[in-house]
Symmetry: C2
Subunit: 360 residues, 2 copies
């Protein structure tokens, strides 16, 4: 009774209060792994210790956090950066600030925050994090957009902006076009008047997938097999050959995609879903002057950690697209935290088009 | 008698006269192919028609011309650019100007010239060429240096200059290090204080080859097998990991070489002697941010055809290195034109370290 009365007095929207009352009721919980392995086997939903709030710390109540392929690889121990064990899974998500340390100036209770770097451990109900690991985002965008903003749309935005000057009417080709990044590429390109050729793997429900990507703004959606066929010429009657190719697959798909690049075109590799290397005929380098480069959002964020302006202007540009309805959250399946095993298994299935989002 | 007297009067060093007297004695001859195929089979030494000298033309007596891998591929019909048939073989060489058309201002009889583009057909005793296809070189460098200047040293020079800023003490790794380009890379890098790690194929006379490349200024000469061994670490105790890799092989050699590049390093492919594609693990792009690019001297010359300054300053820089004894001609075997079949066969043998040079 006393607690309920206090809540009513202070107002349910007053986060520090709510936190304290919640904290008093139940400790934070999170998906913890103590060793590397298959996520459904090694992750356990556990009570976490309540960390003390330091002067530069921020206490955050997580609202929603997706399961991304990189999260799976980190838990498996096969990713380029690994968290010290034991660790809480998850690198992306959105949370609401509950309280801030005395020296925290840029964040206030009630603000929404997303991770500024990989490996924050977002699959938890609450956590205390140093301020520099968080980035403020506006509260007027849908929670699912905010929860999925810090990796995929940022990756898509940077790859379209940083490698090749693209003007309206130019074209971009990408494989894995139904991935989170792929869907963001389609929408950001569309908003800039850039044409997209989107390669997906053949599958039983292909027409449905094609329809969905076209609805997002895709100009062409083709299968990997199509890349080898003479019908490709038809596409290049209406749009120019791509100056930029975005690769998250590897193997044959990538080699075939590369053949359609313009001379002096650039291919950016940001993933390797096929678990096969990129293979390029020597002639493509010598006689067509194509360039192969790579992109990793984690590295970009580290390289730009002191460059708040670049970071803020990217978040701002993406939020504007979201507000204008030009950048939607990826197709999501919302799953309550306790059902995390179902979500993990769904996220690891081949041909998954729907992103699993944990709700706290 | 009359002809000999005229020669004596005009002086043997007066080229137009010498040309006319030569012309009167014998028509120009050249190595002609009427169809694509294996060079020893399809090339024939033939009398050529004497072309008339147009106002913008230059009549050139060839002095020496090498047999390069690209020449072989052009004759085989497998190169990216092919000459209209019938064609005279050869893309590199040095000649002496015999006479010039009325509108030719930049060249005079007696000048030495090299081709400004590929496919000139240098395997001939004399020829009439448009002025814009020729580039003047100083006469105070050895004839074998001039004959081998326009492709390999220029390729080496540009690859060291245009892709990655290199400071004294930085290192470069290259495969096919005993190729014409490879030898030029060693010498140009040495003159700039840049360390070279030179990869060659294992062979019976390896110690001799190692000695020769070390004498040119190589810092390390290793076999392809060495690339995979832990002993590589020893090298990187004394010099930094390379920021630039130069690849003319392809296949496994290239993948292994790439592993030693610094993060954010660049690999430039300019040849594919192994006739195998370049294969790169996805992680090299994403987590090490390596870049793969290509270089083709022919394209560079076309892109810079109007930029005489770039061209002239490169030739000037290379000639200065030659004069200072810092850039020698590659190991050469000089062969009289009539023995061309021997030279062609020698040039197509595996493990050929000596460049075949036709003399006219």
């Amino acid at each position: 009774m006393q607690r309920a009365a206090a809540r009513a007095l202070r107002g349910a929207r007053s986060p520090p209060v709510r936190m304290r009352s919640v904290a008093a009721r139940s400790p934070p919980r999170g998906l913890v792994y103590e060793r590397h392995g298959e996520p459904p086997a090694v992750l356990q939903l556990k009570d976490l210790e309540v960390a003390e709030l330091g002067d530069s710390d921020v206490h955050v109540k997580m609202l929603a956090a997706p399961i991304n392929p990189a999260d799976i690889n980190m838990i498996q121990g096969s990713y380029a950066i690994l968290s010290p064990l034991p660790a809480v899974g998850g690198s992306e998500g959105v949370g609401e600030v509950l309280e801030v340390g005395r020296r925290v100036a840029a964040l206030r209770p009630g603000d929404w925050v997303i991770p500024a770097d990989s490996g924050l451990g977002t699959w938890r109900t609450r956590g205390v994090f140093p301020e520099e690991l968080l980035l403020k985002v506006p509260r007027d965008i849908p929670v699912l957009c905010a929860a999925t903003l810090s990796v995929n749309p940022c990756t898509a935005y940077r790859m379209l902006a940083d490698f090749q000057p693209l003007a309206p009417g130019d074209s971009v080709i990408q494989n894995g076009a139904n991935s989170g990044v792929g869907q963001a590429v389609i929408q950001i390109a569309k908003a800039s008047g850039i044409k997209t050729i989107n390669v997906v793997r053949d599958r039983p429900d292909l027409p449905k997938l094609v329809e969905r990507l076209m609805a997002l703004g895709a100009d062409h959606v083709i299968t990997e097999e199509m890349l080898r066929k003479p019908e490709m010429k038809e596409i290049f009657k209406s749009i120019p050959k791509p100056r930029l190719a975005l690769n998250c697959v590897g193997g044959k798909s990538t080699t075939e995609m590369l053949r359609h690049l313009q001379p002096k075109g650039i291919m950016v590799t940001y993933g390797g879903m096929a678990k096969q290397p990129v293979t390029v005929p020597v002639s493509a380098f010598i006689f067509r002057d194509v360039q192969l480069r790579g992109f990793w959002m984690t590295q970009w964020k580290r390289d730009h950690a002191q460059d708040q302006q670049s970071l803020a202007s990217m978040i701002d540009a993406l939020c504007q697209l979201i507000r204008r309805g030009q950048l939607a959250a990826p197709a999501c399946t919302e799953v309550p935290l306790q059902d995390y095993k179902v979500a993990l298994e769904a996220s690891m299935k081949p041909f998954t088009s729907s992103k699993q989002i944990l709700l706290f």
